[in-house]
Symmetry: C2
Subunit: 376 residues, 2 copies
Amino acid sequence: MTERFSFDLQATDGTARSGVIHTPRGDIRTPAFMPVGTAATVKAMLPGSVRATGADILLGNTYHLMLRPGAERVARLGGLHRFMNWDRPILTDSGGFQVMSLADLRKLTEDGVTFRSHVDGSKHVLTPERSMEIQRLLGSDIVMCFDECPALPATEEAVAASMRLSMRWAQRSRDAFGDRPGHALFGIMQGGVTRDLREESAQALMDIGFDGYAVGGLAVGEGQEAMFSVLDYAPGFLPTDRPRYLMGVGKPDDIVGAVKRGIDMMDCVLPSRSGRTGQAWTHRGQVNFRNARHQDDPRPLDEDCTCPTCQGYSRAYLHHVVRTGEIIASMLLTWHNLHYYQELMAGMRAAIAAGQFAAFEAAFHLRRAEGDIAPA
Amino acid sequence: MTERFSFDLQATDGTARSGVIHTPRGDIRTPAFMPVGTAATVKAMLPGSVRATGADILLGNTYHLMLRPGAERVARLGGLHRFMNWDRPILTDSGGFQVMSLADLRKLTEDGVTFRSHVDGSKHVLTPERSMEIQRLLGSDIVMCFDECPALPATEEAVAASMRLSMRWAQRSRDAFGDRPGHALFGIMQGGVTRDLREESAQALMDIGFDGYAVGGLAVGEGQEAMFSVLDYAPGFLPTDRPRYLMGVGKPDDIVGAVKRGIDMMDCVLPSRSGRTGQAWTHRGQVNFRNARHQDDPRPLDEDCTCPTCQGYSRAYLHHVVRTGEIIASMLLTWHNLHYYQELMAGMRAAIAAGQFAAFEAAFHLRRAEGDIAPA
């Protein structure tokens, strides 16, 4: 185990990259998908099961955790790792994005954001300094700068002003974070879909200096085409020797397209949230287990999958427990979905290392185009 | 593995008994507690986890399974064991009790019961013959006679008439079950809280001849004292060389009192249902994790418990996930509760084998009287 945070870029294939992030809590193989453990749990999963899917790192949400159970409380209890029984790396977001999407009565100033909790109406303040403090109290391994993500659609002028505010907050985040060996601070590039603003933002962040760089402000409803058009150039503005993190992405084809364009880390609630609504993801696309076509189907969800769900249960069973609203439906489908996502990442890592990413991508799209297996 | 169903009574201590039921699908150590897998799942648990708690056998509900997914469908899919991924013994109830408690528009005749599904209003008929057929289609290892359990309060006359109907149905169940090596049919004693009726019922069942005998019609709201007063004599009416099953019991102190009185098998939804409402059971009694007294408590639920919940999580965490309504709360508390119940059974088996049941029972009550541990 290393004592410091570092990134080894090990292979490239076109703009796609593979490597390893070293942290005192363990290595993170990149490209990495981070399951989301919103409120100190990856919903419907035990931590050992999350690890068994192949996850090297989880994401925790500062906004949710500061409200319940509270950052000071988590610190008194020994930090988030001990609290949620996950001893590997945790990345925490800054709270900024979720304040804007979830909290009530938000008020934004140069200093930060005041808001009321969506849980109990209590008043809270988030500033770059407080966000750094909360993430330190949680014990986060990878801390994110406090930033502002403008609601879309927005004028270019509004996007520029928001980006420059985020860059001033990035400097304040850097100053407040200080020097914490073994812990990393990531800057977040903003600038919407405007190339010049993205470049200006990247330069501002690099001038400050971070351990890694996120591409923020995407996956907020702009669509895959617009997102990819930004990813065609934005990662190139960032240093090659630091990890690049695309926040909140995404569907499997979003992920493959992002990795192709030079992204190293991603997170998304999709595999776990889908699993709680009867949806499964496979290399053949999405499968809806509410559909009655599965009710007599003795075959597994995915015959090629080695997860416990596919090894132990028929499609008929999954249909039954989805339709009856059983908790095991969420447990089995979330496990499968997270397993599939991690298999996808492992496949891309191997393909990049072998210089075969284009072939991997072609096969990925071909299998999806075939669609789900025909009714039994 | 034996090819036939058999029972080895291995030790007695007073009226308490311990032994092993042999089945082609594995042994069942008695006294045995059977977790309830209502709709082909022990709620919030994976089958491997249920087994890890020490369970040798599950209970499945004929009423729920005949409605969804349907007994014929389960049979086409290879039977209930394969369907729910549990390869050890399964006992199924007859459906009679739940028709009376859950179904709509019930109509009882000498032939059986017609009713409408509480799920979709569809019309169904249950008779002794159809109940035997459904339990055969499910692949049940231990089949229960179709019986009628009168709603309480009821006159002695009504209880007597109901019991005699159940005895006629027991004969029809026996005739319909036929000869199925490796599968067992249990009769169900009725007779309410009237000793003469219990004796008459037991004699009627023994005249027919069953592989095991259940004490039915208890745990339906009569209270522990009335239940124990029946158990003070009713098991003694049954043959010593066959297992005795007390249906739907119960709380830990109910279970200890029933074992003391000669019961070998029990089932109850309590440990799993409690786990889904933030309640835990320990040797110190019940603990409610909604209570704010746990919010800063770094200690495990039970410091002496070896279950994954107590090994990995603080009371503060359990409080947090119960209050935020996270699925992991149901998963962790159900696992602990089932583990505790199985530890309780293992403790009683060892105590009976050692001739120390009275000491075990005294210690059990003493620790409960001490109550939950004081706030941290």
